[in-house]
Amino acid sequence: MSDNTKLSSRSAADKNQTVVLNPPDPTYHVAKFLSWLIKRGSIRRLSECKKKWEDEGLDIERVVKELGPRYIGIYRHKGEKIVKLENQAWASQWISHYDLEVPHHRHKKRLEKIFSVTENETKV
Protein backbone atom coordinates (compact mmCIF):
# COMPACT_ATOMS: atom_id res chain seq x y z
CA MET A 1 0.00 0.00 0.00
CA SER A 2 1.44 3.38 -0.95
CA ASP A 3 1.74 6.26 1.53
CA ASN A 4 -0.87 8.40 -0.08
CA THR A 5 -3.58 5.79 -0.48
CA LYS A 6 -5.52 3.62 1.82
CA LEU A 7 -7.38 0.47 1.00
CA SER A 8 -10.96 0.19 2.08
CA SER A 9 -12.39 -3.30 1.90
CA ARG A 10 -15.93 -1.99 2.16
CA SER A 11 -17.60 1.12 0.89
CA ALA A 12 -20.69 2.53 2.57
CA ALA A 13 -22.95 1.18 -0.14
CA ASP A 14 -21.47 -2.05 -1.37
CA LYS A 15 -19.87 -4.45 1.04
CA ASN A 16 -18.28 -6.47 -1.74
CA GLN A 17 -16.44 -3.59 -3.38
CA THR A 18 -12.80 -2.83 -2.82
CA VAL A 19 -12.11 0.84 -3.24
CA VAL A 20 -8.87 2.77 -3.00
CA LEU A 21 -9.44 6.11 -1.31
CA ASN A 22 -7.06 9.03 -1.06
CA PRO A 23 -6.76 10.50 2.41
CA PRO A 24 -7.60 12.58 4.34
CA ASP A 25 -10.98 11.09 5.28
CA PRO A 26 -13.16 14.16 5.80
CA THR A 27 -15.68 12.15 7.93
CA TYR A 28 -19.36 11.67 7.08
CA HIS A 29 -20.53 15.07 8.32
CA VAL A 30 -17.86 17.01 6.46
CA ALA A 31 -18.56 14.88 3.36
CA LYS A 32 -22.20 16.04 3.58
CA PHE A 33 -20.96 19.64 3.53
CA LEU A 34 -18.59 18.88 0.62
CA SER A 35 -21.43 17.21 -1.29
CA TRP A 36 -23.55 20.33 -0.87
CA LEU A 37 -20.64 22.60 -1.81
CA ILE A 38 -19.73 20.69 -4.96
CA LYS A 39 -23.37 20.64 -6.10
CA ARG A 40 -23.60 24.38 -5.51
CA GLY A 41 -20.78 25.05 -7.97
CA SER A 42 -17.96 24.29 -5.46
CA ILE A 43 -17.89 27.91 -4.27
CA ARG A 44 -20.11 29.63 -1.72
CA ARG A 45 -19.90 32.60 0.58
CA LEU A 46 -18.45 31.72 3.98
CA SER A 47 -21.43 33.46 5.63
CA GLU A 48 -23.83 31.17 3.73
CA CYS A 49 -21.82 28.05 4.64
CA LYS A 50 -21.86 29.09 8.29
CA LYS A 51 -25.59 29.87 8.30
CA LYS A 52 -26.39 26.47 6.85
CA TRP A 53 -23.88 24.14 8.47
CA GLU A 54 -23.19 25.56 11.90
CA ASP A 55 -26.72 24.52 12.93
CA GLU A 56 -25.57 20.99 12.16
CA GLY A 57 -22.53 21.32 14.40
CA LEU A 58 -19.92 22.03 11.74
CA ASP A 59 -17.40 24.80 12.33
CA ILE A 60 -16.72 25.62 8.69
CA GLU A 61 -13.66 27.80 9.28
CA ARG A 62 -12.14 25.03 11.36
CA VAL A 63 -12.96 22.43 8.69
CA VAL A 64 -11.28 24.60 6.03
CA LYS A 65 -8.23 25.16 8.21
CA GLU A 66 -7.86 21.49 9.12
CA LEU A 67 -8.17 20.24 5.55
CA GLY A 68 -5.82 22.90 4.19
CA PRO A 69 -5.56 24.80 0.91
CA ARG A 70 -4.76 21.69 -1.15
CA TYR A 71 -8.34 20.60 -0.60
CA ILE A 72 -10.42 23.65 0.24
CA GLY A 73 -9.55 27.32 0.42
CA ILE A 74 -10.84 30.73 1.39
CA TYR A 75 -10.78 33.60 -1.10
CA ARG A 76 -11.94 37.18 -1.04
CA HIS A 77 -14.52 38.67 -3.37
CA LYS A 78 -15.94 42.19 -3.03
CA GLY A 79 -15.06 42.26 0.66
CA GLU A 80 -16.62 38.88 1.42
CA LYS A 81 -14.92 35.60 2.27
CA ILE A 82 -15.62 32.81 -0.21
CA VAL A 83 -15.12 29.10 0.39
CA LYS A 84 -13.83 27.26 -2.66
CA LEU A 85 -13.36 23.53 -3.03
CA GLU A 86 -9.93 23.04 -4.62
CA ASN A 87 -9.78 19.29 -5.09
CA GLN A 88 -13.00 17.96 -6.59
CA ALA A 89 -11.54 14.53 -7.37
CA TRP A 90 -10.65 13.96 -3.72
CA ALA A 91 -14.01 15.27 -2.50
CA SER A 92 -15.93 13.26 -5.09
CA GLN A 93 -14.44 9.91 -3.98
CA TRP A 94 -15.36 10.53 -0.32
CA ILE A 95 -18.82 11.79 -1.25
CA SER A 96 -19.28 8.55 -3.16
CA HIS A 97 -17.82 6.50 -0.27
CA TYR A 98 -20.39 7.97 2.11
CA ASP A 99 -23.13 7.38 -0.47
CA LEU A 100 -23.90 11.07 -0.90
CA GLU A 101 -23.19 11.44 -4.61
CA VAL A 102 -26.62 10.82 -6.14
CA PRO A 103 -29.68 10.96 -3.86
CA HIS A 104 -31.85 7.89 -3.63
CA HIS A 105 -34.64 6.57 -1.50
CA ARG A 106 -32.60 3.69 -0.08
CA HIS A 107 -30.05 6.05 1.49
CA LYS A 108 -32.81 8.03 3.17
CA LYS A 109 -34.22 4.78 4.62
CA ARG A 110 -30.77 3.90 5.93
CA LEU A 111 -30.44 7.34 7.56
CA GLU A 112 -33.86 6.88 9.20
CA LYS A 113 -32.67 3.57 10.65
CA ILE A 114 -29.49 5.20 11.97
CA PHE A 115 -31.58 7.96 13.57
CA SER A 116 -34.03 5.54 15.11
CA VAL A 117 -31.21 3.46 16.62
CA THR A 118 -29.67 6.64 18.00
CA GLU A 119 -33.04 7.70 19.39
CA ASN A 120 -33.56 4.29 20.99
CA GLU A 121 -30.17 4.52 22.65
CA THR A 122 -31.01 7.90 24.15
CA LYS A 123 -34.42 6.73 25.41
CA VAL A 124 -32.99 4.97 28.46
Binding site: K39, G41, S42, I43, K52, R76, S92, E101, P103
Partner: protein, 172 residues
Protein backbone atom coordinates in the same frame (compact mmCIF):
# COMPACT_ATOMS: atom_id res chain seq x y z
CA UNK B 1 -6.20 42.82 14.46
CA UNK B 2 -4.66 42.98 10.98
CA UNK B 3 -6.93 42.06 8.05
CA UNK B 4 -6.32 38.54 6.81
CA UNK B 5 -4.58 38.48 3.42
CA UNK B 6 -6.63 36.25 1.17
CA UNK B 7 -6.34 35.61 -2.56
CA UNK B 8 -8.95 37.21 -4.81
CA UNK B 9 -11.56 34.88 -6.25
CA UNK B 10 -10.82 34.27 -9.95
CA UNK B 11 -13.26 36.16 -12.15
CA UNK B 12 -14.72 33.12 -13.93
CA UNK B 13 -16.14 31.84 -10.63
CA UNK B 14 -18.14 34.98 -9.90
CA UNK B 15 -21.26 33.89 -11.78
CA UNK B 16 -21.49 30.65 -9.75
CA UNK B 17 -21.83 32.64 -6.54
CA UNK B 18 -25.05 34.36 -7.45
CA UNK B 19 -26.65 32.40 -10.27
CA UNK B 20 -27.76 28.78 -9.89
CA UNK B 21 -26.16 26.31 -12.28
CA UNK B 22 -23.80 29.08 -13.43
CA UNK B 23 -26.70 31.08 -14.88
CA UNK B 24 -27.98 28.30 -17.15
CA UNK B 25 -31.61 28.99 -16.23
CA UNK B 26 -31.23 32.66 -15.37
CA UNK B 27 -31.41 33.94 -11.85
CA UNK B 28 -34.86 33.26 -10.43
CA UNK B 29 -35.95 32.11 -6.99
CA UNK B 30 -37.42 28.80 -8.15
CA UNK B 31 -34.10 27.73 -9.70
CA UNK B 32 -32.26 28.85 -6.57
CA UNK B 33 -34.52 26.60 -4.50
CA UNK B 34 -34.00 23.72 -6.91
CA UNK B 35 -30.21 24.06 -6.72
CA UNK B 36 -30.31 24.22 -2.93
CA UNK B 37 -32.61 21.23 -2.35
CA UNK B 38 -30.83 19.08 -4.93
CA UNK B 39 -27.51 19.87 -3.22
CA UNK B 40 -28.85 18.88 0.22
CA UNK B 41 -31.48 16.28 -0.63
CA UNK B 42 -32.25 14.63 2.72
CA UNK B 43 -33.18 17.71 4.70
CA UNK B 44 -36.69 18.80 5.76
CA UNK B 45 -37.31 22.26 4.32
CA UNK B 46 -39.46 24.95 5.88
CA UNK B 47 -40.37 28.08 3.87
CA UNK B 48 -38.65 30.30 6.45
CA UNK B 49 -35.36 28.46 5.98
CA UNK B 50 -35.53 28.93 2.20
CA UNK B 51 -36.32 32.62 2.68
CA UNK B 52 -33.08 32.93 4.64
CA UNK B 53 -31.05 30.89 2.17
CA UNK B 54 -32.27 32.63 -0.99
CA UNK B 55 -33.02 36.10 0.38
CA UNK B 56 -36.46 36.00 -1.28
CA UNK B 57 -39.73 37.19 0.25
CA UNK B 58 -42.29 34.80 1.79
CA UNK B 59 -44.93 34.99 -1.02
CA UNK B 60 -42.28 34.31 -3.69
CA UNK B 61 -41.04 31.27 -1.75
CA UNK B 62 -44.61 30.03 -1.22
CA UNK B 63 -45.38 30.25 -4.95
CA UNK B 64 -42.15 28.53 -5.93
CA UNK B 65 -42.73 25.72 -3.40
CA UNK B 66 -46.31 25.22 -4.62
CA UNK B 67 -45.06 25.05 -8.19
CA UNK B 68 -42.27 22.59 -7.40
CA UNK B 69 -44.75 20.42 -5.47
CA UNK B 70 -47.13 20.40 -8.45
CA UNK B 71 -44.23 19.45 -10.70
CA UNK B 72 -43.48 16.46 -8.46
CA UNK B 73 -40.04 17.64 -7.35
CA UNK B 74 -41.11 18.26 -3.76
CA UNK B 75 -43.53 16.57 -1.39
CA UNK B 76 -45.49 18.66 1.10
CA UNK B 77 -45.99 17.32 4.62
CA UNK B 78 -48.97 19.04 6.23
CA UNK B 79 -49.02 17.12 9.52
CA UNK B 80 -48.73 20.58 11.06
CA UNK B 81 -50.87 22.73 8.74
CA UNK B 82 -49.45 25.96 10.16
CA UNK B 83 -45.85 24.91 9.52
CA UNK B 84 -45.65 22.75 6.41
CA UNK B 85 -42.48 20.85 5.68
CA UNK B 86 -41.20 20.18 2.19
CA UNK B 87 -39.06 17.21 1.25
CA UNK B 88 -37.41 16.25 -1.98
CA UNK B 89 -39.31 13.56 -3.88
CA UNK B 90 -36.47 11.08 -4.13
CA UNK B 91 -38.46 8.90 -6.51
CA UNK B 92 -38.37 11.63 -9.17
CA UNK B 93 -35.92 10.97 -11.98
CA UNK B 94 -35.65 14.74 -12.38
CA UNK B 95 -33.75 14.87 -9.07
CA UNK B 96 -31.14 12.43 -10.38
CA UNK B 97 -30.86 14.36 -13.64
CA UNK B 98 -30.49 17.68 -11.82
CA UNK B 99 -27.78 16.17 -9.62
CA UNK B 100 -25.85 15.19 -12.74
CA UNK B 101 -26.39 18.70 -14.08
CA UNK B 102 -24.87 20.25 -10.97
CA UNK B 103 -21.74 18.15 -11.53
CA UNK B 104 -21.73 18.95 -15.26
CA UNK B 105 -21.72 22.68 -14.49
CA UNK B 106 -18.41 22.48 -12.64
CA UNK B 107 -16.94 19.91 -15.05
CA UNK B 108 -17.40 22.32 -17.96
CA UNK B 109 -15.85 25.13 -15.94
CA UNK B 110 -12.96 23.24 -14.30
CA UNK B 111 -12.32 20.35 -16.70
CA UNK B 112 -13.09 17.80 -13.95
CA UNK B 113 -14.95 14.50 -14.30
CA UNK B 114 -17.40 14.74 -11.44
CA UNK B 115 -20.45 13.96 -13.57
CA UNK B 116 -18.86 10.82 -15.02
CA UNK B 117 -17.97 9.68 -11.49
CA UNK B 118 -21.51 10.35 -10.34
CA UNK B 119 -22.98 8.38 -13.25
CA UNK B 120 -20.64 5.48 -12.49
CA UNK B 121 -21.59 5.68 -8.81
CA UNK B 122 -25.29 5.70 -9.72
CA UNK B 123 -24.81 2.68 -11.92
CA UNK B 124 -22.87 0.77 -9.24
CA UNK B 125 -25.28 1.56 -6.43
CA UNK B 126 -28.67 1.78 -8.09
CA UNK B 127 -28.82 0.47 -11.65
CA UNK B 128 -26.55 -2.55 -11.32
CA UNK B 129 -29.01 -4.23 -8.95
CA UNK B 130 -31.61 -4.13 -11.72
CA UNK B 131 -29.32 -5.82 -14.21
CA UNK B 132 -29.25 -9.57 -13.53
CA UNK B 133 -26.20 -11.23 -15.06
CA UNK B 134 -27.28 -14.42 -16.85
CA UNK B 135 -23.78 -15.82 -17.11
CA UNK B 136 -20.20 -14.92 -16.35
CA UNK B 137 -17.66 -16.16 -18.83
CA UNK B 138 -14.11 -15.81 -19.97
CA UNK B 139 -12.98 -16.83 -23.39
CA UNK B 140 -9.57 -17.34 -24.92
CA UNK B 141 -9.14 -17.89 -28.63
CA UNK B 142 -6.02 -19.37 -30.25
CA UNK B 143 -5.03 -19.60 -33.87
CA UNK B 144 -2.44 -21.99 -35.30
CA UNK B 145 -1.98 -22.82 -38.94
CA UNK B 146 -5.46 -21.61 -39.87
CA UNK B 147 -7.19 -23.57 -37.10
CA UNK B 148 -8.91 -21.68 -34.30
CA UNK B 149 -9.37 -23.04 -30.77
CA UNK B 150 -11.78 -21.37 -28.43
CA UNK B 151 -11.66 -22.21 -24.72
CA UNK B 152 -14.66 -20.99 -22.81
CA UNK B 153 -14.86 -21.09 -19.06
CA UNK B 154 -18.32 -20.17 -17.98
CA UNK B 155 -20.53 -20.16 -14.91
CA UNK B 156 -24.26 -20.13 -15.54
CA UNK B 157 -26.66 -22.13 -17.68
CA UNK B 158 -25.73 -25.22 -15.66
CA UNK B 159 -22.39 -25.73 -17.42
CA UNK B 160 -19.21 -24.84 -15.60
CA UNK B 161 -16.64 -25.55 -18.22
CA UNK B 162 -16.70 -26.19 -21.91
CA UNK B 163 -14.10 -26.42 -24.57
CA UNK B 164 -14.79 -25.92 -28.22
CA UNK B 165 -12.61 -26.60 -31.18
CA UNK B 166 -13.75 -24.68 -34.20
CA UNK B 167 -12.28 -24.95 -37.63
CA UNK B 168 -11.71 -21.70 -39.43
CA UNK B 169 -13.77 -21.23 -42.60
CA UNK B 170 -12.59 -23.35 -45.47
CA UNK B 171 -10.99 -25.92 -43.16
CA UNK B 172 -14.07 -27.91 -42.21
Amino acid sequence: MAEERLPELPREFEIYLDKPYGGLFGDNVQTKIIEEVVADPYRDYRPKYLEEMTGAKAPTIRNALANLTNLGLLEKDISDAQHPIYRLNLKSKKIVALTFLSYASIDDRDGTECMDNAILDYYMKVLRQKVQPLAVATMVQYEYNGRIWTDTLSAGGGQLYEENVILASGQA
